[in-house]
Amino acid sequence: MVTKTTVIATVLALAMAALLGYRFVFGLGAVANINNGYPWGIWVAYDVVIGTAFACGGYAMALLVYILNKGKYHPLVRPALLASMFGYSLGGFSVLFDLGRWWNFWHILTPGYANPNSVMFEVALCVTCYCLVLWIEFTPAFAEKWGSAATKRKLNKVLFVFIALGVLLPTMHQSSLGTMLVVFGTTVHPLWQTTLLPLLFLISAVSMGFSIVIFEATLVTNVYNRPSEARILGYVTRYIVWLMSAYLVLRWGDIIVEGKLDKVFSSGGLSFVFLLETALFALPIALLAPKANRIKPQMQFIAAVSMLLGGSLYRIDAFLVAYHRAGWHYFPSVGELTVTLGIIGVEVLGYIVFVKKLPVLHPVERALPAAATTAE
């Protein structure tokens, strides 16, 4: 278990713990560069908004396997759920240390305080529920390891309720993370500000979910010397192509209809990042459109990484780069970045421990025939 990866992850996690200790004694400004012009930094934009989008693998695969009944993808579900479980739990944890008055956090879920007009209330309630749902969805792995067959059977009887919630809740809050920006109005640049924000955030989140499944499966195959899952992943890639095509049509269509096309080229640095987003979203379509490319692991990996970078850039841009307050500036501090890296460290550590100790990856002897029968 002691490898270069786990050691680095542990060091980052410890550094994060120290910095957060400092933050809780001296205030948010002692570690983070956030200010009254940019009150939200990367702890919100990366740890929560991008972090939970990266954690949409479980959502995307559950949608595919349990709702659309694509049983052949079943081997991909459990590792995806695991990553989602960590991603979302740590997203929730990030919120807690980013809250200035964290000791009051329970107000957000308490009638009398809760404000149903607030998009953040919806997101908070929904993400909290989804964290619980993810841990429940993952319980069959615990049950297989430590529980009896009877426990597992009982669990399977009610699991469909949680699977359904596990699809509904991310649909709600991943779109709402986009809606959160609507109230910023003209403070967010017109290339990002649109009433389509919820839809664009939702589509890109599902697409990032499929991409992270490809990304993680490719890494696991190489790191643990397991048989390639390129064939089954090849079928997943088609959804990325469809979703990203829809996304680009909606995004550009909205810009044309709203008469903002001139801003695409006349907004200086923002024009550049906007076009870079489009390029990163378009690359997966270009790479994966030819059917022959879809089963090539390199193509899958490059497309997935491009999609994940595009989705991340879109979120960073919408929350921070395209957000403008005259006279104010924000760039994350080293401490702030270290905390974010520490979160990733905890995620990687947890994933490795769980994969080694619990039945997460499907048994290798079953993997080969399962993959072979996927050809319809």
């Binding site: 200010n35 012009g37 009944n69 699809v167």
Partner: protein, 324 residues
């Protein structure tokens, strides 16, 4: 699998219901309109052309709200706040251009400008606060903050179109701070401290409708004509006479964001004075239109959940048989 296509269509239909709801947000019929002015709405009128930049209001605000001075010069001799902050709820700034020779003139001129809470008719901060720590009084329309409820998420700071609420970043027990129109003084029958001390009536307290009327009166006067200006409260007998300046033909805050209860008059364009050009539709109404279209009575989410549960149940049952 003969059922694949049908299942796919069913699943796609259920899964896209929420998306479909989101897509209907553009429809006018469902839109949440701007909120309207409360019946006993009170406010402030700041007239940049009357302001002499004495900052008596900044000092009075400190005393009334018990805030500490801010020092931004080499020697800490003068209270020199540069902007609103965790300890400055009201600030006077200056616009200067070219030779700065003429008051209230855009070119080669200068002008003073007050920054404090606008007390929006349809405030973003109240809409976004997840824990109801920002509240708008249903009668007076004063937007108040309640730290005992606040979780410190800073959504109010991020969403305010005027950049008003401020957070404290250098304490483990931070609070949000903003002008609350001296509601503690108003409860004692007094008026906001800034209006009470203003020697020229540049900051005037009163009913929003009364202040709008007064603003319209001033704008209608020809520049250079001598007129009477009230101090402290609109229509008060404490008056002085002065020649009218050249006003821009707009009362800032009459329409912006569906109206604000603090309004401004000036001779220099408002965007030059740090007041952004804003649409008439409030950002809160745009946000809540989406929120309430998708989540109205939770009908759509519950319907979708039903569909998802049906499909998940059907597909996992089959799945379980496979495994046993």
């Amino acid at each position: 699998m003969p059922l694949t296509r049908r299942n796919f269509l069913k699943g796609a239909a259920a899964g896209s219901a929420v998306v479909a709801c989101a897509a209907t947000t553009a429809s006018e019929a469902e839109a949440r309109e701007n909120k309207t002015l409360p019946p006993k709405a009170v406010g402030l009128l700041y007239d940049s052309t009357l302001c002499i930049g004495c900052k008596a209001c900044v000092k009075a605000c400190r005393d009334a709200n018990d805030t500490s001075p801010e020092f931004n010069t080499a020697d800490p001799l003068w209270d020199t706040p540069l902007d609103l902050s965790g300890s400055t709820l009201n600030v006077i700034k200056m616009y200067a251009e070219g030779t700065s020779d003429h008051k209230d003139q855009e070119k080669d001129g200068f002008a003073f400008i007050k920054k404090s809470c606008m007390h929006c008719v349809d405030p973003s901060c109240v809409s976004v606060c997840p824990v109801t720590a920002m509240r708008k009084d249903p009668d007076t329309g004063i937007v108040s903050h309640h730290p005992d409820a606040c979780i410190g998420c800073r959504y109010c700071v991020a969403s305010c179109p005027f950049g008003v609420p401020k957070f404290e970043y250098n304490t483990p027990t931070p609070q949000i701070h903003k002008c609350q129109m001296c509601r503690h003084r108003q409860a004692e029958g007094k008026i906001p401290a800034c209006a009470e001390v203003c020697p020229t009536g540049a900051t005037l307290f009163g009913s929003v409708l009364g202040l709008r009327e007064e603003a319209a009166r001033r704008r209608s006067l020809p520049a250079g004509e001598t007129t009477t200006f009230s101090r402290k409260t609109v229509g008060s007998s404490d008056t002085h006479e002065k020649n009218t300046a050249h006003y821009l033909p707009h009362t800032y805050g009459e329409t912006e964001m569906g109206g604000t209860q603090m309004m401004l008059l000036a001779g220099v364009p408002f965007d030059k004075l740090g007041y952004p050009t804003l649409p008439e539709g409030s950002f809160a109404s745009a946000s809540e239109t989406i929120q309430h279209t998708v989540y109205k009575g939770m009908a759509a989410p519950v319907a979708v959940l039903g569909g998802l549960m049906y499909l998940a149940h059907k597909h996992t049952k089959h799945d379980g048989q496979d495994e046993d």
